[in-house]
Symmetry: C2
Subunit: 404 residues, 2 copies
């Protein structure tokens, strides 16, 4: 199968490209490399050094004889997207190519606008490219469990059968996203569903939980195949950050009471889920949603698991929650569709945490504890500091849109 | 009350500005005049000639001694928006300032992208301006009944109490919009709800039905106070267009079977609904939704009413429906909240239709029947003609976003 991986230089996009390539798929990784630019903007870096995209691809080819080709450019630039599309003619597109940090989208107005324009326009361009060039292409789009928020009823996979005043219909699950980033994914989902209905496109929307871990069977083959390891307050996610805090001898910082419950999954399951969606594609005209996570934990439970798995004394510190979220809530979200397709989850255990800690210890001297402190206050419209001026130096999207 | 009317030069924005001014409110009309540019792009024009914004404001002042001030600029330009906001310091903002045609958004990719970027960024800017300058400002935002689509259950006003697997919650009503324009309004609604939750803003989201009619008590006072009269297939709406077709001696063109049912209201009720929302504002932190229409009709019923009201022989022609919509469906939408606040509807009757026809007869020689023919096929990704190149000449939005 010919698979185009958008965002193929990122934390999950790169391991996905390798995983598919290792299984004999023909893969092109497409990326504008802007994730590396966010690092420059924020004064952060991947804890584990990462090779550039060209080098990664070369190492993969040298090591395995397999090819991950790549194209560097921005999918908000429709000319770039369609010329890359026509040159490769994919049978499936996996779309990781969006700004994916909720805190980043909450920095200030320009980051909110940037996140929504970048994500919405990129996704619209992908829909139009498929519609205009080859509507039979299966789109596998990354969304987030955060689209649902925390309703006081069970969360289903994308749709819910509602019986109301004696009538019944199956409708899109109501969405209550909690940041401009999460909102952008909700907007994408609505646009996606419409394109399937209007043009007969086929799409799988993967509402993914919080991913933890760092290695897959492929990235571990060579240091220059490693993917990103983010632990900062803007792009780092909770379990990975807790492990870094323990290794650095800092307290684990829990936002608020810590009873917030979220779906989570191992990076090894992310790549397998993408494969499962690809080999069992949506039907023409079908818009389907899979909830892509394997276990639910509260933040306190994650902290306890990390503390229990790693030696030494650990302190847990509760910070005022900077986010707009309920600290106590009901949470019961379905996630059977990917299991039905064959997913055998890597469940979170002490061994997984210890292996992660071993990686972190290797790069212990490079840990910058200051970047783990949350400075973005979601209940304010902007940061009161210089970051206010926004992503003026970010390449691509806004100029591309203007040029459209 | 100091009220800022965004889109104050448009079909409904201008009559709203006059209506509020006549009742003693201090009003500023803000507009980038782009609606007039769409006419140039599409080769259309308002059937009733309209004065420019400066002239309109002068005539109003000469006639009544009251002032509608105005500012010409684009709300996607945050500097323009905030400087206008700070100079006027509104107590309420009425937001009509969006691209409001569904067919326009379906012309091709660039019109879809333009519509969503223009509407979403403008609305985000309004939210940030209120949040940063004066969070006590009440935002009255125009949405559309088209956000809901046609579910097989009763449509409520914005929220629905769902009982599911033994648990109950009141959640946002699931949305199934049917064009990139309708989608943009759904995106706005989600962003709006979040801003109220995160920042304590107060907002009323008016999900408006299809507006018909042309005059209000104020616009009728002088020919140069007239608002637009659109009858073309892109910006014209169904009842107004049917009346033009009858006067021109053309068949009434019904899309598809004509059993599509929609909520409708007289333009005189639009301006009153805005006033009702303003004088009974949402509470701080409250995001509320009113369904703003007074009666539901199927397209066939509208056609029958027009035919019944106007003399002569009339032919009804059913065209293949270019839209993505069900031709037969359940429709029962709540609309009691505005009535509870005091709305006394102008119901549709033969007299209303005759008065509308009298206006159209005055400008009969200027009717261009060719613009009433629907040429935009919603089930294709683009028009197969020169319009494909898109709104490259449209001022403002995309450059403003790039400059953000």
């Amino acid at each position: 199968m010919r698979v185009m991986v958008l965002g193929g230089d990122g934390y999950l996009g790169w391991p996905t490209a390798l995983y598919l390539s290792a299984r004999g798929q023909e893969v092109i990784a497409v990326d504008n490399l802007v994730r590396r630019t966010y690092d420059t903007e924020l004064g952060t870096a991947s804890l584990v050094p990462i090779a550039d995209l060209e080098r990664r691809a070369t190492v993969w080819n040298d090591l395995t004889g397999r090819t991950v080709s790549y194209a560097i450019g921005d999918i908000t630039d429709y000319e770039f997207l369609t010329s890359t599309f026509r040159a490769f003619m994919p049978e499936a597109v996996v779309h990781f190519g969006e700004q994916r940090s909720a805190p980043y989208s909450m920095i200030d107005r320009s980051h909110a606008v940037y996140t929504q324009v970048n994500n919405i326009v990129g996704n619209l361009n992908v829909l139009f490219a498929i519609g205009e060039i080859d509507p039979s292409v299966h789109l596998v789009k990354l969304g987030t469990m955060g689209e649902y928020g925390t309703p006081n009823i069970d969360i289903e996979e994308g749709f819910i059968e509602i019986t109301y005043k004696g009538r019944t219909d199956t409708l899109p699950f109501p969405k209550q996203p909690g940041s401009f980033y999460h909102l952008s994914k909700v907007h994408d989902s609505h646009n996606l569903a419409f394109a399937c209905r209007a043009w007969g496109l086929r799409a799988t929307d993967l509402n993914q939980g919080i991913v933890y871990g760092h290695v897959t069977d492929e990235t571990v083959m060579h240091p220059e195949l490693a993917t990103r390891f983010d632990y900062d307050a803007v792009f780092g996610t909770v379990l990975n950050r807790f492990v870094v805090q323990v290794v650095a001898g800092n307290p684990l910082t829990v936002y608020g009471r810590g009873d917030q419950t979220r779906g989570m999954l191992n990076i090894k399951d992310t790549v397998r889920c993408i494969e499962l969606a690809l080999i069992h594609p949506a039907q023409p005209g079908e818009y389907r949603v899979f909830n892509q996570f394997t276990e639910s934990f509260s933040i306190n439970e994650i902290a306890a698991l990390v503390v229990g798995a790693l030696d030494g004394e650990h302190k847990i510190e509760h910070l005022t929650d900077p986010r707009v979220e309920l600290e106590e809530h009901y949470y019961n979200a379905a996630h059977t569709k990917l299991v039905d397709l064959g997913l055998v989850p890597h469940l979170l255990d002490a061994d997984t945490i210890c292996r992660l800690a071993a990686i972190v210890r290797e790069w212990r001297d490079d840990i910058d504890p200051s970047v783990m402190e949350p400075t973005i206050e979601w209940r304010a419209t902007a940061l009161p500091d210089a970051r206010r001026e926004g992503p003026a130096s970010l390449p691509g999207v806004l100029e591309n849109v203007a040029g459209a």
